[in-house]
Structure formats: C-alpha cells, structure tokens
C-alpha cells in the first residue's frame, strides 16, 4: 500500500484488496478452543504478560459468529468431533484456524481409539504450532505467520472466481 502525503492535503493510493487485507490482518479476533494443557498456554498468551492483543487479537470471542481465527489448543476426542466441526461451521467467512500443540496437529502421544489424529482431518488448518505444549511465544509466532498469510490473500479475486466473473 502506497501512502504519501504532500503538503497539507494527504492522499492514499491503494488497491481495494490491499485495503481489505489491511483491515483483516489487524483484527484477527480469536475464538479460543482450549481443551487441554495448551489451553493454559493460550490463556497466558492472551493475558497481560504476553498480550496477544498487541497484534490485533484484542477480543477473544467466545461466540463463533464474531470470530476470525479458531485457536484449537488441545486434544480433540472423536466424541467431540461433531461439536468442534459445528463450531467451525458457525464461524463467518473469512476464517482461519491455528492448530496449537502436538495433539491438535497429529493426535500427539494419544495414538488411541478415542483421539482424533489431527484436526486437519476435520477442518482446514492454516498454521500448525508444534510443541507439547508450545510456549506463548509459539502461539504469538503462529499469529504473526497467519497475519503474513492474510496479507498475501486475494479476497476479491477469490470471490470473483467463486461466483464466476472476471479471471
């Protein structure tokens, strides 16, 4: 985005897509879905010591309808899959998913009949955070990576392709 100001009158030269991305990347409101020890680290990341709000994740939304980023922090059992999928489905587009910790990424140590072997079997994942559990720095890094991804997105072109106009 080009931003210049000459003299008293300022002017802004940009593309609409970049403007949209600029708005989106600065307000990735998280939906915290803490199910295990990763949830504790996520709380630490959200609290004042690490303060995830510095990066725009100002308001942890406990309603999926007003959230942008689903932070899955912890194990998902097979029994819980319908609940989890339903919450993901309830989120409004655009939405992203951070898979935090070994359990969410791959099932972790729980290679058993009852545990989902990675949430990417159920929902699309944007950023994986390894660790058992990852430190808050790990989650912050993941959020920064996600912001990078949002920056490079083409929301209008994607939408146009979806409804079949333009190219």
């Amino acid at each position: 985005m080009a931003f210049q100001a000459y003299g008293g009158e300022g002017w802004l030269l940009t593309k609409l897509e970049q403007l949209i991305n600029w708005g989106r990347k600065r307000s990735p409101w998280p939906l915290p879905y803490g199910t295990a020890c990763c949830g504790i680290e996520m709380m630490a990341a959200l609290a004042s010591g690490y303060d995830l709000a510095r990066f725009g994740a100002e308001r942890p939304s406990f309603s999926p309808r007003q959230a942008d980023v689903l932070i899955q922090a912890g194990t998902i059992t097979k029994k819980m899959v319908p609940v989890f999928k339903r919450i993901y489905d309830q989120m409004a587009e655009p939405k992203w998913v951070i898979s935090m910790g070994a359990c969410a990424c791959s099932g972790g140590v729980f290679r058993t009949y009852s545990t989902l072997q990675g949430i990417d079997l159920v929902v699309p994942v944007d950023v994986y955070v390894p660790g058992c559990p990852p430190r808050p720095e790990g989650l912050i890094y993941a959020l920064l990576k996600l912001i990078e991804k949002i920056e490079k997105d083409h929301p209008l072109r994607k939408k146009a392709a979806e409804i079949g106009i333009g190219g």
Partner: protein
C-alpha cells in the same frame, strides 16, 4: 484384631479367597452375592465410602500364565505332573474399593465375571457413587449391571460398537468415527 479376621468373621462363607499384597487386602466374593457382601461390610464393619469400581480383563494375563507353564513343563518332562484341567478361569473381574472414613482402613472386594454371563448386580442402591463407575465399566468392558437405573455409555458415544478396554480390542481402534448429525438449517 486384624482386618482379615474382621472381614472373615463378617462375611463368613461369602469370603471365597483372600489376597494380601503390599499391605492391601482384597477379598473375593461370589458374583450373585455381591450386594449382600457389600451391605454387610458397610453396615457391620463401617466401610462407608466407595472409592471406585472398575473392571479388569484378565485374558492376556491368563494366556501369559499358560505360556509360562507350558515352557516350564517342557523343561521338566521327567516329572510328568498332570495339571487338573478344570474350566478356564473367569475372564473378567469387577473390583470395588472400599474405605472406612472412621478407621481409615481400606479393602478391595472382587467378583469374578465369566465371559458367558456378563451380568453383575448393581450396588447403586448402597452407594449412589457407584452410578458413573458402573457405567464406565459397562462402557469399557460390556459388563452389565442389573438394577442400574441408567446404564448407558459414559465415555464413548452411544453408537460406539465395541468395548475398548477388552484385551482383544486394538489400541488404535477399528476405525470408528462419530457420525455428524446436524442440519445446515439449525
């Protein structure tokens, strides 16, 4: 008087077998007399607190034991001991852990449950605390509790087709997935 004598006196012929291990006493009682035995232990000996109820699948243990025996026999063929060939030991056990809050004594009460008769009387009439543990045992081993008011799965979902803590159930499951049932319109 020691705990073992107390239990022996209280249960009488209901006590089939005693086992003392690391200072912990366990007593085996007949399967159809479990409510009687636990009532006696609760009312006469003061075991007023039921800590836990859980199941055990001994099939792997018995297999291991049989293998070790066969190996030993091969080594000592000259002795030619004939083992009495009785019916196979019951596959499952249900174990009740009791605690006396007054005297701080603990006791494990076992019943043996053969595979062809997977029904044990429920002790929810004695302790409401037995409700969920019995449901868990039903969930994990398929042992039914007669007289339980709400015997359905506790941990796995209702349609789950197997009993996962049985030794013949593979650790990573048989590919069971919970099926999603909800409308887009909801």
């Amino acid at each position: 008087m020691g705990l073992k004598e107390d239990v022996q006196n209280t249960l009488g012929e209901l006590a089939l077998d005693f086992l003392e291990c690391q200072g912990d006493l366990s007593v085996t009682v007949p399967k159809d007399k479990i409510v009687d035995a636990l009532t006696k232990l609760r009312d006469d000996l003061g075991f007023d607190f039921l800590s836990d109820v859980f199941g055990v699948d001994n099939s792997a243990f018995y297999e291991k034991l049989a293998k070790a025996k066969a190996k030993k026999k091969k080594g000592e063929e000259d002795k030619k001991e004939e083992e009495p060939q009785g019916p196979p030991p019951p596959r499952f056990e249900v174990i009740y852990l009791l605690l006396s809050l007054e005297t701080n004594r603990r006791l494990a009460v076992k019943v043996k449950v053969p595979e062809d008769d997977l029904v044990v009387d429920s002790v929810t009439s004695l302790w409401r605390a037995a409700d969920w543990p019995e449901r868990e045992v039903f969930d994990m081993f398929g042992i039914k509790f007669k007289g339980h008011h709400n015997l359905k799965r506790l941990l796995m979902w209702d349609e789950f087709p197997a009993h996962p803590l049985r030794k013949d159930y593979p650790l990573e499951g048989q590919g069971e997935e919970r099926i999603m049932e909800y409308n887009d319109n909801d």
